[in-house]
Homo-oligomer: 272 residues x 2
């Protein structure tokens, strides 16, 4: 089964466009968990068990694992998802990008070492640097387009013959990178107008949308701007607002409640 | 001592602009070494011992370590450089880039976990995503500008009001990101005209120049295009052409010979 097929089944099965980001910040773990590998893994297992029927995808952010030397915890977290939520695709958020021979190594890291279903990548270096990822036709390649951060426009909004750079990235995705149907784009929830522009360019291509929750994106606006005609096409990521909904021993049920709240808020605007 | 001070002393001490890239490809190790962590570490130690008086920097490429789960070998390789070549700065080639809170984690990975003197980063997401790295004022932050790969121009050459994107990146580096004097740029050896344009924009800012050797960049052209008035300002990286100069038991002496050859070729054009 390809990543896209798995994602479509996951949207259907969960009735949810919520993607939960796993960003293990040692300093923000629930107070009763140890600040070490065992604590992080216990935290992730509980979060996954509490949300696995409510999400269309999980998105571990590799930076948090790498900063703390927790590669084994990332592997164990992925193994837990495979065992207890086998239908939920895993997007490794790594934003890799390098010359072809090095990109091949990064593709091995994401798809072979960690066995991710999809990986995020950066387009700045050009099409040939995305090719080693896209060659894995059964995996998803999620290319940065218009990101959620305050400075996203510094380069992404620069106009080339009257069109912003991020639109040219979206066009390349639609006309070139998606030949095998395995390309997705990142568009921040904080920019609903740009999200609508990208949706108009890429047809039904799935869009990974970070920036709700801690970053403040408006759910109604983003869903109206980004949904497809079928009311899907979006992976709305929330990390901190779900993971750290409570720092008490009720953190897992608080995460579940926060996920349901986001799921229902999104679903309100998928079809109307 | 800041990264830039260390680099300037290293240029002087070694009389060399050569940076050796450490890209441990298990399939290309010398035939007598084991295809595992011990083999890679023995390989790196021998390469370092054979070249440490001839180089201005080492540049481990983290993708190769990450693909093979060799984080401990990267740490041990860096420890070997610190012990046996303490004056040679280490640039972690990671090309990271993410929103601020995640970029902080990547900065921890590069500067704290691995203790690198500098790290390569990607500017696509905007200035606020570089800030968490630049805040380490004693470390170097090496921003992708005009890269060495065939598709580099796909986005980097797009013209905004008549000026290519990579020149706007160079301008931001010169006018904004280099406030603490710790910003560098990556410009590929394969594009000497673009290298000359960047040099004109950034003054004496050091430029990391990959693309000689396996990628085919012309040394005379790149040195003439990229040198500063003092005949420095460049870190000319070679990885595969040095590491894999021989696959026999003479690999270390072959690497030394290849490094000397590149050093001398570069030095021929530094001042004339």
């Amino acid at each position: 089964m390809t990543f896209i097929e798995k994602l479509e089944q996951s949207w259907e099965r969960s009735n949810s466009l919520v993607c939960v980001g796993l960003d293990p910040d040692l300093g923000r773990l629930p107070a009763h968990l140890s600040r070490d590998a065992a604590g992080v893994l216990a935290f992730h297992r509980a979060i996954i068990d509490a949300t696995r029927d409510l999400v269309c995808a999980y998105k571990p952010q590799i930076a948090y694992f790498a900063a703390a030397g927790l590669e084994d915890v990332l592997l164990a977290t992925i193994a837990h998802i495979r065992e207890h939520a086998p239908h939920v695709p895993i997007i490794l958020d790594a934003k890799r990008g390098d010359i072809g021979s090095t990109a091949e190594q990064y593709a091995l890291e994401a798809f072979t070492r960690y066995g991710a279903d999809a990986v995020t990548v950066n387009p700045y270096m050009g099409s040939d640097t995305l090719e080693p990822f896209l060659r894995y036709r059964d995996r998803g390649v999620v290319v940065l387009c218009r990101t959620s951060n305050p400075g996203a426009g510094d380069f992404q909004d620069l106009e080339i013959n009257g069109r912003p750079l991020y639109e040219l990235v979206a066009e390349r995705a639609a006309t070139q990178w998606n030949a095998a149907g395995n390309c997705l784009l990142v568009v921040g929830a904080t920019w609903p107008q740009q999200l609508a522009r990208v949706r108009a360019i890429v047809g039904d291509m799935p869009l990974l949308v970070p920036g709700v929750g801690a970053q403040g994106g408006d759910v109604e606006q983003l869903v109206r701007a980004g949904r497809t005609a079928r009311g899907t096409g979006l992976l709305v990521n929330s990390s901190r607002a779900i993971l750290y909904a409570s720092r008490g021993s009720d953190f897992a049920s608080a995460a579940r409640a926060a996920t349901i709240e986001l799921q229902q808020l999104i679903n309100r605007y998928r079809q109307d």
